[in-house]
Symmetry: none
Subunit: 269 residues, 2 copies
DNA sequence: TGCAAATCGATCAAATACAATCATATAATG
DNA sequence: CATTATATGATTGTATTTGATCGATTTGCA
C-alpha cells in the first residue's frame, strides 16, 4: 500500500476512533509496526494527527478553523537551528508540575515543540505559545490580563493590578535583544514593560540567547547580570563571554547543535 | 489500554459520576490501582479533574451555555442556525470603535464570523474568540488574566485584582443556561463568578438566548431581569415570554432565521 | 485520645514501546 | 540492464510504563 493511502486511512480511522494503538493501525493497514510508527511521526509533524505513546490520536477539534498560519515571520528563521537547540536545552531544565514563566519572543516560542509532552504550570504573556499549548498539550496555561499586541504577539496591560501579582514561579525563561556586561538589553519599550512585570514574579531568570546576541546591543537595560541565574546559548559562543558571565555568577549552558548529546554546563565561580 | 484512552475515559466517567474511588476507576479501566493513581495525579496537575483522597472528582459540574469540551462540538450544532442568526443580529448592534465585552460560550462564539469585518475594542474571556479575532480581524482584543480552562474554553482567575477592573464597555454580550422571570440563570458557580466580574464593567447587558432557553433553568441566579437591557432570540420564541421581558423593561430583538431581513425589535414598555 | 483500616507515595522488577540501525525489496533513473 | 534512491520490515538496545510491594500517612470510629 502506498504511503499516501496509508496516511489517508490513518486520518480517516482516527476521525472515528479518536485513539488507536500502533498495533491496531498496523493490523488495519497490513503494515509493520515500524512503518506505522514512521507514518504516525510524519502525520504528527504535519499536525494532521497527534502522536502519543502507544499509538496516535485525532487532533483536538477546536471550535473554529484549524489554524496553522505562520505565527512569526522572518526573525524566526534567523538562527532557527540554534534557537531550537537552545529551546530544547531550556525545556530540559523543567520538571513536571513545576510553575514556570515564559516571556514572549521568537526564541522562547521554539520551546513549544518540546513543551508539548510536559505537564507544567505555565504563565506566559505570549499569545502564540498559549494558543499552541492550550490546543495540543496538557500544560496548565495562565495568561496575564491585557490587550493582545499583534506585532509582538504578546498580552500586555498598562495597569498594575493584574493577576500576575498572585503568581510565583521557580523559573522564568526569556530571550533578549542583547547580552553584555551591562546586563540584559532589550530594544522594544513594549517588551521591556512586559518583561519587567514578569521578572519580579520568578526566582531564577533563565536567559535564552544565541551566540550572536553577545554582539548586538539594545538601548534599554532590562536587568543586571547578577539577576540572571542561567544563560542558555549555542556552541558558537566565545569563551570570553562565558567567562564574563561566570564571573558575574551566571551559569552558562551550551546547547549541543544536534540535540543528541547533553547540554554542557559551565557553572558560575 | 493506552494512557490517553484511560485519561479520556476517566474524564468521561467523572463527568457522569462526579466522584469515583480509585478502585471504581481501576475496575472500569481494567488497570491496577497504582496506574489509576498515576493517571489521577497527571490529570489533576493538568487541571482536568481534581484529585481527592480515595479517588477523584470532576473539576466542575459545568453545564449550560458554556459547555464541557467533548460536548462543545456537538452543542455547537444544537440550534446552530438559530444561534447564528442571533449572533448576526447581536453584532449589528455594535458600532465601529465601540468598546464591548463578550462572555464565553457557544452562542457568543458564533459572533466571530460577523465580527471579522468590524473594528471594535473587545474584552472577552473566551479563548477561542480571542484566538480567531486576533488572527483574522483588526479588532483590538483584551483578555482578562487567569488560567485557560480547556473544558469551558475560557480564561478565569480566582483573584480579584484584575485589569478587568480598569475596563468599561457600553455593551456586554452573553449567553445563558436559562432565562425566566427570576432573571438570568447559570449552572456553574465558577462561571457565575467569571460573568459577575464582567457584568459590573458594562453599561448595557445584551443576552443572547435561543428560544429553548426559556424552558431550561439553572440553579443559580446571575442577575435579575431589570439589569438586562436587551434580549436577542429567535423567531420560535413565545409571545408570552416576549411580554414578560417587555414588562420587566427589557427590549427583545427577534433575529430573522434567514438573516436577510432586518431584526424585529419589540421595545420595552 | 488512641487504634485499626484504608489510602498514599516511593521503589523495583517485568512488560511494553520506542528510536535507531541494518538488510531487503521495490521503484525510479540513466 | 545496471544503478541509485526510497520504502519497508526485522532486530537490537534503550527508555518508559506498569503493577506489586512496603512503609508512611491519613481517616474513621470507638
Amino acid at each position: 500500500m502506498l504511503e499516501r493511502q496509508r496516511h489517508k486511512e490513518i486520518i480517516r480511522a482516527l476521525a472515528e476512533e479518536k485513539v488507536m494503538t500502533v498495533g491496531d493501525i498496523a493490523g488495519l493497514l497490513s503494515a509493520s509496526e515500524a512503518t506505522v510508527r514512521r507514518d504516525i511521526r510524519a502525520l504528527d509533524s504535519a499536525n494532521q494527527i497527534r502522536k502519543i505513546r502507544g499509538g496516535a490520536e485525532a487532533v483536538a477539534p477546536a471550535m473554529g478553523d484549524t489554524i496553522t498560519a505562520p505565527l512569526f515571520e522572518h526573525s524566526q528563521l534567523v538562527n532557527a537551528d540554534k534557537k531550537r537547540a537552545i529551546a530544547r536545552a531550556a525545556v530540559e531544565l523543567c520538571d513536571d508540575g513545576e510553575p514556570i514563566i515564559i516571556n514572549g519572543g521568537t526564541t522562547t516560542y521554539m520551546m513549544v515543540e518540546f513543551l508539548m509532552s510536559k505537564k507544567l504550570q505555565i504563565l506566559t504573556n505570549s499569545f502564540p505559545i498559549a494558543e499552541q499549548l492550550v490546543r495540543k498539550s496538557e500544560n496548565r496555561i495562565i495568561l496575564p490580563g491585557g490587550e493582545v499586541y499583534r506585532e509582538q504577539q504578546i498580552v500586555l496591560s498598562p495597569f498594575d493590578a493584574d493577576i500576575v501579582q498572585n503568581h510565583y514561579a521557580s523559573k522564568m525563561f526569556l530571550g533578549a535583544f542583547g547580552l553584555g556586561k551591562q546586563g540584559l538589553m532589550e530594544a522594544d519599550p513594549l517588551l521591556i514593560q512586559a518583561e519587567g512585570k514578569l521578572i519580579g514574579q520568578a526566582e531564577k531568570l533563565i536567559v535564552m540567547v544565541d551566540s550572536s546576541k553577545f554582539k548586538s546591543r539594545g538601548s534599554l537595560i532590562l536587568c543586571p547580570l547578577v539577576r540572571i541565574d542561567t544563560v542558555v546559548t549555542d556552541e558558537a559562543v566565545e569563551a570570553s563571554h562565558v567567562a564574563l558571565l561566570n564571573n558575574a555568577g551566571v551559569n552558562v549552558i551550551i546547547a549541543p547543535a544536534d540535540g543528541t548529546a547533553n547540554a554542557e554546563l559551565h557553572a558560575a565561580a
